[in-house]
Amino acid sequence: MAALLEAERVSFTYPDGTQALQHVTLSIPEGKKIAVLGPNGAGKSTLFLHFNGILRPQEGCIYFAGARINYSHKALTDLRQQVGIVFQDPDSMLFSASVRQEISFGPLNLGLSREEVGQRVEAAMAATGITGLQDKPTHFLSYGQKKRVAIASVLAMEPRLIIFDEPTAYLDPRSTRDVMALLEDISRQGKAIILSTHDVDIAYTWADYIYVLAGGQVIGAGTPAEIFSDATLLEAAGLARPWLLDVYEDLKNKGWLPATAPVPKNKDDLLGLIPYRSRSKLAI
């Protein structure tokens, strides 16, 4: 799998002395779903700002599509087109008068023709299901709607990698479901996605691969099953275990599942593993 984006021993300290990143090395493969977990202040947001060139590593370097980023004006423009970030708070991402204007902001800054911009805006609104809101002023929208507009505004730039910083924070359960479904759609189109979240259940079920950050360092990396079976790592990062694994383990310990039973990926998998209690089975 070719790496789309790589960070190599990236360190970054803010002017106030906060050491936000220390020798962070990681790799984001093309088209995959990557979750980044870790407590508040672990350096996730700082890392993301390195991925589209807003921040520049003080040590180490970032590679995009195999080439080291050189931070020229042109290189940055290219990078920011290819790597989109949907920030946590939609209110600080939306600043235009209407939904349509908001979404056209990025494509217009790319210097595309009006027609091309128009098409992209339509497509992005259709993909996020907000076509009906296009003429509304952004500040009249509900929180969930604003989130969609923020996602559409990044989609319209047609990036290859989209970073979602806590996309479900503060959303009600239905909006959370909708946003996760939208992420699934985007992923199916072959785009790589980085998701930061505090919801271990979502991370476990959704991600192909997980990086765990704490104190500005990568303290764990692996598949969801690997990450969440490492109790020391979870403790160090202040993470809970997904309930799915708790129940699975308990059932296995109590002898209901064979030791070789596959680790379930989602609720349906788990419930599928649980056998029916019937006379015939009891007779075995």
């Binding site: 004006h73 423009t77 087109q81 600043f95 902001f105």
Partner: protein
């Protein structure tokens, strides 16, 4: 977010009674202003630098950098004071003559400029001593004790607290705009900055309403009353400061 502010909370003189520090800084500042000879500001710079670096523990490098902040103004201002433009040639005037007008310096002008330069740095040393050793929270306490109108103190206090909140907001908006190439060219930069300023205003307005609601819920009624931190008087500091200023005054009167 501001280094000066950070040092104000972490320096070794933080727990000295703020009233003493304010009084010391202001009295010394006054002496720097009225002193007729450049010797006094020079002594003040040396002693304030000693107190700020040596006693309060502010890194020397940072302290020296602070003096660069007013530097461009000082250089330009002092140059203009030293500069003489005249059509009547003077014996002491050294410079260039063009079309009968002479542009140049006189020794008197240079002397005055030097004096003002030194005096400004002396005064700045007093300001820096205050701002690097005394948190704004404590300065507000002094203002309240000095019977500055409560409304004014409340406004200053709110401004201080929300400078940091709004700066974080500006940072978020700016980052989001830059991520979508909002500052890729001069034209888009103007547009983006305009959006930023307008949005920040709307957010400021909303925040003020939320704050009002939250404070009303805690029984707010006209005044933002708070419990003051009681600092004990530090006699050693007070004595040293008084002796220092007294010596300066005597020195000023003698010379």
């Amino acid at each position: 977010m501001f280094s000066i502010d950070q040092y104000a909370y972490s320096n070794r003189l933080k727990n000295i009674h703020p009233g003493e520090k304010v009084a010391f800084a202001l009295v010394t500042l006054l002496i720097a202003l009225v002193a007729p000879r450049p010797l006094i500001p020079a002594i003040i710079i040396a002693l304030m630098a000693g107190a700020t670096i040596g006693i309060a523990g502010i890194p020397a490098r940072f302290y020296l950098q602070l003096f660069l902040v007013p530097f461009s103004f000082l250089v330009a201002g002092v140059a203009m004071i030293a500069l003489t433009i005249t059509s009547q040639p003077q014996a002491s005037l050294k410079g260039v003559t063009l079309l009968g007008w002479t542009l140049g310096f006189t020794p008197a002008g240079m002397h005055l400029a030097g004096k003002i330069f030194l005096k400004s740095l002396g005064a700045a040393a007093c300001l820096y001593f205050l701002s690097l050793t005394t948190p704004i929270v404590d300065i507000l306490t002094v203002l309240r004790q000095l019977r500055v109108p409560a409304l004014l103190v409340d406004l200053i206090s709110l401004t201080y607290r929300f400078i940091f909140v709004l700066l974080a907001t500006v940072n978020d908006i700016y980052t989001a705009q830059a991520s979508r190439l909002g500052y890729a060219s001069l034209r888009t930069s103007y547009h983006s900055l305009g959006q930023l300023a307008a949005n920040l205003f709307i957010k400021t307005y909303r925040r003020s309403q939320e704050l009002f609601t939250a404070l009303t819920a805690r029984g707010y009624h006209e005044e933002l009353q708070v419990l003051e931190v009681a600092y004990p008087f530090s006699w050693p500091f007070l004595c040293l400061a008084a002796i220092f200023d007294l010596v300066l005054v005597i020195l000023m009167l003698l010379t």
